[in-house]
C-alpha cells in the first residue's frame, strides 16, 4: 500500500495565496502567501503568536479565512474526497479521546476512508507505538500522544504533510527520530511542512523557511539564504593579548566588540583572515570560531527592517 499510493499521488503542490484572518479588528494572519513543493521540507517559524498554527488551521478549513485561499493541486481542502490520502495533518496539541486506545483512534479514522486496520498497525509500528497501541490514550505521555498524532497524519500515506509543532512533547530521542522521519518523508517526494519556534528543535533542519512575525511573512526562501541575507557573519576569538588584537583588527577595518566572557566578537573579517593577521603579529589565538547566526537574530533583523 505504501509504495502504490505514494507513486500515484506524488507531486502534490500546495499553494497558499493572500490568506488573511481577522478576529474582530485584529489580524491573526495577514496576506500570507507561500508555496509547498514536493520533496522539500518546509518550515514556518516565528515567535509565539506569529500566526503559525492559525495559518495551518486556515489551510485545512478548521478555521474560516477572512480572505485568500489555500489550494491542494487546485482544490480546496473541503473539496478533497479523501483528504487523509492527500494531506496528513498533525494538530497541536494532538486531540485524542482519553478513554479510547491509540489503535481504536486510528481505526476510526481509517474507517472513514476504507483504509484497512492493517495500515493502522503499520503506522503504529512506524511511530514506535506498537507496544502501547492497546492502551487508553489517556495514559499516554505527551510524547506518545504526539506520536499518535503523527501516526494519524501518516495513516493515508499522503503525498503532503502539514505538521503543527511536531517536536512538541518529544524527548531528545524522539526529536532525533522525528528528524530522520521528516527527512525520509521529504526524500520520498512528499511536500512536508512543519511549524516551530525560532529556537525550535527543527527550525535549522528545514530546506526552506517561511518566517512569520505578527501574522505577516517576513521571509520566504531557502534556509541558508534567509540566514546569510539577514545576518552579518561574525567570528569569536579568544586571544592571549586582547587589546593588541583589537587594535590590529580595527586597523584592518573590522568591527570588534568585547564580550563579557572575555572573547572578542569580530565582524568584517573571516576567521582565516584573523588567524593570518594574528600569527604575523605574534598573537596567540586560543579560540577562533565562526558564529552561526541563530534564527532569533534573523528574526530580530527582519523585524527591525520592517
Amino acid at each position: 500500500m505504501a509504495g502504490r499510493l505514494a507513486v500515484r499521488n506524488v507531486g502534490l503542490v500546495i499553494e497558499v495565496h493572500d490568506l488573511t484572518r481577522r478576529y474582530g479588528g485584529v489580524s491573526a494572519v495577514r496576506n500570507v502567501s507561500f508555496r509547498l513543493e514536493p520533496g522539500v521540507l518546509h518550515g514556518i517559524v516565528g515567535p509565539a503568536g506569529a500566526g503559525k498554527s492559525t495559518t495551518l488551521r486556515l489551510m485545512v478549513g478548521l478555521d474560516r479565512a477572512t480572505s485568500g485561499w489555500c489550494l491542494f493541486d487546485g482544490r480546496s481542502y473541503r473539496d478533497l474526497a479523501y483528504p487523509l490520502r492527500e494531506v496528513g495533518v498533525l494538530l497541536a496539541p494532538t486531540p485524542a479521546h482519553p478513554g479510547r486506545t491509540g489503535r481504536d483512534h486510528l481505526r476510526i479514522l481509517a474507517r472513514t476512508h476504507g483504509i484497512p486496520d492493517r495500515r493502522a498497525d503499520e503506522v503504529l509500528e512506524m511511530t514506535g507505538l506498537a507496544d502501547v497501541a492497546r492502551l487508553r490514550a489517556g495514559a499516554y505521555s505527551p510524547g506518545l500522544r504526539q506520536r499518535l498524532g503523527l501516526a494519524g497524519a501518516l495513516l493515508g500515506d499522503p503525498p503532503a504533510l502539514l505538521l503543527d509543532d511536531p517536536a512538541a512533547g518529544l524527548d531528545p530521542d524522539g526529536v532525533a527520530w522525528l528528524r530522520v522521519l521528516l527527512r525520509t518523508l521529504a526524500r520520498e517526494g512528499r511536500a512536508v511542512l512543519v511549524t516551530g519556534r525560532l529556537t525550535g528543535e527543527l527550525a535549522s533542519d528545514v530546506d526552506r523557511l517561511v518566517i512569520l512575525g505578527r501574522g505577516r511573512v517576513l521571509a520566504d526562501a531557502p534556509t541558508a539564504e534567509v540566514i546569510s541575507r539577514n545576518t552579518v557573519p561574525a567570528v569569536r576569538v579568544r586571544p592571549d593579548r586582547p587589546d593588541d588584537l583589537e587594535k590590529l583588527l580595527r586597523g584592518h577595518g573590522a568591527a570588534v566588540a568585547l564580550r563579557p566572557d572575555g572573547r572578542l566578537e569580530i565582524t568584517g573579517l573571516t576567521s582565516a583572515d584573523i588567524a593570518g593577521l594574528a600569527v604575523r603579529a605574534g598573537i596567540l589565538l586560543i579560540e577562533n570560531t565562526p558564529v552561526h547566526a541563530s534564527l532569533d537574530d534573523v528574526y530580530l533583523a527582519l523585524a527591525r527592517g520592517r
Binding site: V60, G61, L62, Y77, R78, D79, L80, P83, L84, V89, L91, P93, P95, A96, H97, P98, G99, R100, T101, D104, H105, R107, I108, L109, R111, T112, H113, G114, G152
Partner: protein, 175 residues
C-alpha cells in the same frame, strides 16, 4: 456514507459510556417498572439522552471533532452519520428495555402496537438530545437541558390531556 456510519459506530462502540448506559438502562428500566411506569420511563429516557449527548459531546470535549472534520470535511455528512447511529442505538436499546419491561409487568397489555410507538418516541428523544448537544457543544449541560425539556413536555402533555378530560394512561407518548 456507509464508511462514515461505520466510523461513527466504531467510535461509539469504543466508548465506555455506551456500555455503561446500555447496561444501566437494561437493568434499571425493568427494575423501576416494578415500582412505577413513570419511573421506568424516566430512567430509560435519561439513559437515552445521555447516550445521544455523549456521541457529539465527547468529541467537542476532547477536541477530537477537529480530527473528525479533517478526515471528513463535509461536516453535514458527519452529523447525518452520527444521527443515524444515534437513531439505531436508541431504537435497539429502547426496544430491548421495553420488551424486558413488558416481561416484568404484563399489565402493559397490547404489546406490539405500543412497542412501535414507544420505540419511535425513544428515537425522537435521542435525536432531540443529539440536536441540543450540537447546539451547546457540552455533554453535561446538554443532558440537563434535554432531560428537563423532555420531562417538562411530558408534564405539560399530561396536564393538557387531563384538562381535555382524557385518561393520561392512554396518551400517545406515555411509554
Amino acid at each position: 456514507m456507509i464508511r462514515l456510519v461505520a466510523a461513527e459506530w466504531l467510535k461509539l462502540r469504543t466508548l465506555k459510556s455506551l456500555w455503561v448506559c446500555a447496561g444501566t438502562a437494561l437493568v434499571l428500566t425493568p427494575a423501576a417498572a416494578t415500582l412505577s411506569r413513570l419511573l421506568a420511563a424516566a430512567v430509560l429516557q435519561a439513559m437515552i439522552i445521555v447516550l445521544a449527548a455523549v456521541v457529539p459531546g465527547s468529541e467537542f470535549a476532547t477536541g477530537t471533532i477537529r480530527t473528525t472534520f479533517l478526515a471528513t470535511p463535509r461536516r453535514i455528512a458527519v452529523m447525518i452519520a452520527k444521527a443515524l447511529v444515534v437513531t439505531v442505538v436508541a431504537a435497539v436499546l429502547g426496544g430491548g428495555c421495553l420488551m424486558l419491561t413488558y416481561a416484568v409487568d404484563v399489565r402493559y397489555g397490547t404489546v406490539v402496537g405500543r412497542l412501535a410507538v414507544d420505540i419511535g418516541y425513544c428515537v425522537l428523544v435521542a435525536l432531540f438530545a443529539f440536536a441540543v448537544t450540537l447546539a451547546v457543544k457540552h455533554t453535561a449541560s446538554a443532558v440537563s437541558l434535554a432531560l428537563s425539556a423532555v420531562l417538562l413536555v411530558r408534564l405539560v402533555l399530561m396536564v393538557v390531556s387531563m384538562m381535555f378530560g382524557a385518561d393520561p394512561s392512554t396518551a400517545l407518548w406515555n411509554l
